[in-house]
């Protein structure tokens, strides 16, 4: 048996929690940290007579997402009821969208090994989340804090052909959602959830195989692992002449395998119908246009621009455009100093290290983008040496103060006055006549030693280029 003879066909359904303060159809808070059932109301627990009122911001964020994904936005979409019984579904139906969703026909373009890859988006629709069942011993308890949380379900076409492609698509979608500020993309807290549909077929075959759904995977790594496992499982079955059962499976991260949750004998019948409690959702084309204007530059465009405009290598550009806030920081610093490559180097080395050590994100960085730009500027203008820069950045991190201020107070300004430097050199040469003699006898290595001694004597403040120049002159005169 050879896996190479088979290919897999993957489509993802990603649920993204929209970043609103209150729930989609009620005023209860969406905050993650809360006591059980603290964020509930008569609406979100489905009391008799309670009615939903749509969250305007939820709609806005959904449209923004649709636009960022290149979708067509319906000016008139409809909320529908998806009817099924489950204890964490308080009304016995979920408010969702069915045949008239808000966003349709978009795409995500992303990089896979340096090449552009496109995945089509079939639809993105608004819906509310259910509560959460918790099983403790014999008891089953329900926490309704999540009940009614606004979700955007983004449904891709079955356009992915490998688990890695699928994981990369999910990461890119998350990146876009975070860029446009509609979702924090926090998988552990459940603000993004991923359902994968996968089937396999012999290469060259055009018909789709039997589809298996893997539900509720909460990390991109697990998306890839679960799909890999599933691919192998299905190929093995097919190869041994067995049929694939259409079913829903779950990923067990401890055992590294998927297992069957339920078998779909018939298609589920959710008895969708338009929710009579809610008016059709009508948005004007001018409103949509207005939201379009608010959209920031998207990650892929920015990545390409960074290479072109700043002459950055693609590796730098990729890292610097990973998060919108990092890219913004970079560009603000460049405005101050006009040296993109230097800013990039400082960010990719010292700054990222400091942030990682303290587990901070760029928004919490004690060094402002202006300060970093100023630091680069100080070095470029020769005011301080690069070596001083390295110590200076740590001080900036610790104190949060501007580099100019620190330089002035501590007298760290670079010594460029040749007379002063010559004085220091003379003193050092006098103290180390042995090394001078060695150099003159051909042991050029001593040159480095002498530079070190000079820099030490001036506390690193002397302009290193000038030190080199003058030392050479003196030794060879």
């Amino acid at each position: 048996m050879s896996y190479q003879d088979y290919e897999c066909v993957i489509g993802l359904e990603i649920h993204a929690q929209l970043k609103t303060q209150s729930k989609m159809f009620s005023a209860d808070s969406t905050q993650f940290e809360a006591a059980d059932n603290a964020h509930t109301s008569i609406v979100s627990v489905g009391m008799p007579g309670a009615l939903p009122t749509p969250n305007r911001l939820g709609v806005e964020l959904a449209i923004k997402t649709g636009l960022a994904l290149g979708c067509t936005i319906r000016e008139r979409s409809v909320f529908a009821r998806k009817n099924y019984f489950y204890p964490d579904l308080p009304k016995g139906y979920q408010i969702s969208q069915y045949d008239e969703p808000l966003c349709e026909n978009g795409r995500v373009i992303y990089l896979l090994d340096g090449a552009k890859k496109e995945v089509r988006i079939v639809r993105a629709h608004l819906e509310e989340d259910a509560g959460k069942s918790v099983h403790i011993g014999d008891a089953s308890l329900i926490n309704f804090n999540r009940s009614g949380i606004p979700l955007l379900e983004v449904v891709s076409a079955p356009d992915m052909r490998s688990p890695r492609e699928a994981a990369q698509y999910a990461k890119s979608l998350r990146q876009i959602l975070r860029y446009i500020g509609v979702c924090d993309g926090n998988l552990e807290e459940g603000s993004m959830r991923c359902d994968c549909n996968i089937s396999v077929r012999k290469k060259g075959e055009t018909r789709l195989g039997t589809k298996v759904e893997i539900k509720n995977i909460n990390s991109f790594r697990f998306v890839e692992k679960a799909l890999e496992y599933e691919f192998e499982r299905q190929v093995t079955l097919l190869h041994s002449g067995q049929a694939i059962v259409q079913e829903t499976r779950l990923w067990d991260p401890d055992k590294n395998r998927t297992f069957s949750m339920r078998i779909k004998e018939d298609a589920d019948d959710y008895r969708y119908f338009p929710d009579p409690d809610l008016l059709p959702l009508v948005v004007s084309s001018s409103y949509i246009e207005g939201l379009k204007k608010q959209l920031p530059e998207l990650p892929l465009e920015r990545f390409e621009r960074f290479q072109k405009q700043y002459g950055l290598p693609s590796y730098d550009a990729e890292i610097l455009t990973e998060e919108k806030e990092i890219a913004d920081y970079f560009e603000r610093a460049v405005v101050v100093c006009g040296n993109p490559k230097a800013v990039s180097n400082w960010m990719m080395t010292d700054l990222m290290r400091l942030l990682n050590d303290q587990k901070l994100d760029i928004n919490q960085c004690p060094i402002s983008s202006e300060s970093l730009g100023e630091l680069v500027q100080l070095i470029d203008s020769g005011t301080i040496s690069g070596k001083i820069g390295k110590t200076l950045i740590n001080e900036m991190w610790d104190t949060g103060r501007r580099p100019k201020q620190i330089v002035e107070e501590k007298g760290l300004v670079q010594i460029s006055d040749e007379k002063v430097i010559e004085g220091i050199i003379d003193a050092v040469l006098k103290d180390h006549s042995h090394a001078v003699a060695e150099y003159r006898s051909g042991k050029t290595k001593s040159f480095g030693f002498l530079v070190g001694q000079i820099m030490k004597a001036c506390k690193g403040q002397a302009n290193p280029q000038k030190v080199n120049e003058l030392l050479k002159k003196k030794l060879e005169s």
């Binding site: 008569i42 007579g49 489950y86």
Partner: protein, 496 residues
């Protein structure tokens, strides 16, 4: 001072003029409600606290300015048991909610309270408002005060019976397919179903969301107008409410019908299908309108014949979904299980719901579930929705030729208890004259005019354009002045 002839407007005037105290009014109705309930069964719950609340109001009579803000000050009202009342049991006449005490007031209830009204108690009805006779209530059938062997109509039968028997001066009902108008007709009172969107549905136990509306049930047209003014208007908690201005209907009442174009709906005027007393009452009303200078315009709306079918498809579909929340998990009836081990979720639901719902509710849930199921949706729910839209278009077209439409409320006066309980088709057909008004989102009023040969009340229905409740009140007011049915409450209603 207070007797069976007293109207809501009388009560307001008597309190205002300090002729009676609020507590005396409450005492009067409370005494009647308590005494008559064993025979009529109009109340499911009496508010134990109401007399205390009334006594507290005795010494705080509002000033003129406050009266305008609190036009129902001190008036004890009966509320159909579909409206959530904070701290007061709300059952929807179902075993499912027999112990349910809402933590909040329906918008309509809080508006009544803000207007100074008191809640005397919660009134009987068909279970979840599904029925036309108030015989499907878990709390027992309600009886017609005009003849105890007859039904009061439904589903707001308890409201109609309580008002007719002066167990409260006025009541609130809900109308999904005729549930205010038909019992008003059976009990000789006024009942109006406002235009869809006029009154908030927030806090009303949902039956069929696209059809449900709340409205007043009273002895006179003026009384109805006074209550509707208080409960109407935009509610941000109900997206389907309208921002349409709420006029002061009671101040604009005008009995002059000269020049009014009254459409006469031919499909419902077929004398052979109408009870002879109902037909005669309609003839009298037509003759009166003609005499007063109104012009009668025959109109035909062939689609109304499909009204009952369309109604039962749409209402049941919505109900099957609206009632899914009653699963015994968070509140409501839960079956007794000796232990839960081995009890599947399905079994848990199925027992809770089998025990909690009555037969009529179950059959409608099944009908609705069927209509919405894959493979049937297009043929039933979708087609019904299409016919519904055409029906509305036809009505709106008809309103180019006339200002209001006259029709029977029902083909017969009240029927005997049990007579139609086992003949659902006959029971459903009972709604033929009223359901179209809900389907088309119009307003309709039932106004009493006379008594049948058996001494049972007969009313007629006027149907109005969307948000033209004023025309309905005016037509009703004209009939009230001419036929003066309300006077019969004082002397003719059999001694109870």
């Amino acid at each position: 001072m207070l007797d069976t002839g007293t109207t809501l407007s009388d009560v307001i005037r008597l309190i205002k003029e300090r002729v009676v105290k609020v507590s005396e009014v409450t005492q009067f109705y409370l005494e009647r409600a308590t005494r008559l309930n064993p025979s009529i069964n109009a109340f499911i719950t009496v508010n134990d606290a109401v007399l205390d609340q009334a006594q507290k109001m005795d010494d705080q009579l509002p000033n003129q300015e406050q009266w305008e803000k609190q036009p129902l000050w001190g008036v004890p009202l009966g509320i159909k048991d579909m409206f959530c009342t904070k701290g007061l049991r709300t059952t929807a006449a179902s075993r499912m909610l027999a112990q349910f005490v809402p933590p909040y007031d329906a918008t309509v209830v809080s508006r009544l309270k803000q207007a100074g009204a008191l809640i005397l108690g919660k009134l009987n009805q068909d279970e979840f408002a599904m029925g036309s006779s108030t015989e499907t209530s878990y709390f027992g059938q309600c009886r017609n005060p005009w003849h105890l062997e007859y039904v009061p109509g439904g589903s707001s039968g308890g409201s109609a019976a309580a008002v007719a028997a002066s167990m409260c001066p006025a009541a609130l009902g809900t109308d999904t397919g005729g549930s205010i108008r038909q019992p008003a007709h059976f009990c000789g009172i006024v009942g109006i179903k406002p235009t869809y969107g006029r009154v908030s549905r927030f806090g009303i136990v949902a039956f069929a969301s696209s059809l449900d509306q709340a409205g007043p049930m009273t002895k006179t047209v003026e009384d109805a107008a006074r209550i509707l003014e208080v409960i109407s208007g935009l509610d941000i908690k109900d997206q389907t409410t309208s921002s349409e201005k709420v006029p002061s209907w009671s101040n604009n009442l005008n009995p002059n019908v000269r020049g009014l174009r009254v459409g006469v709906l031919q499909e419902f005027m077929d004398k052979s299908s109408l009870n002879i007393d109902v037909a005669r009452a309609l003839e009298e009303v037509e003759a009166f309108l003609r005499k007063e200078g109104a012009s009668l315009v025959p109109i035909s709306l062939p689609l109304v014949k499909h009204g009952v079918s369309v109604y039962y498809l749409i209402a049941s579909s919505e109900a099957s979904s609206n009632l899914a929340r009653y699963d015994g998990v968070r509140y409501g009836h839960r079956a007794q299980f000796d232990h839960f081990s081995g009890v599947t979720l399905e079994r848990f639901y199925s027992r809770n719901r089998s025990e909690g719902f009555g037969a009529e509710v179950k059959s409608r849930i099944m009908l609705g579930t069927y209509c919405l199921s894959a493979g049937y949706y297009d043929a039933y729910y979708k087609k019904a929705s299409q016919v519904r839209r055409l029906l509305r278009d036809d009505f709106l077209k008809a309103f180019q030729q006339c200002d209001v439409i006259l029709s029977p409320v029902s083909t017969t006066p009240a029927f005997r208890l049990g007579e139609r309980l086992h003949d659902p088709l006959q029971m459903y057909l009972n709604d033929i004259c009223t359901v179209s008004v809900n389907l088309a989102g119009l307003c309709g009023i039932s106004v009493p005019v006379t008594l049948s040969s058996q001494g049972l009340p007969i009313g007629v229905q006027f149907i109005g354009k969307p948000f033209d409740e004023q025309s309905l009140f005016n037509c009703g007011f004209a009939l009230e002045k001419a036929f003066a049915f309300y006077r019969r409450f004082k002397n003719e209603l059999p001694r109870l």
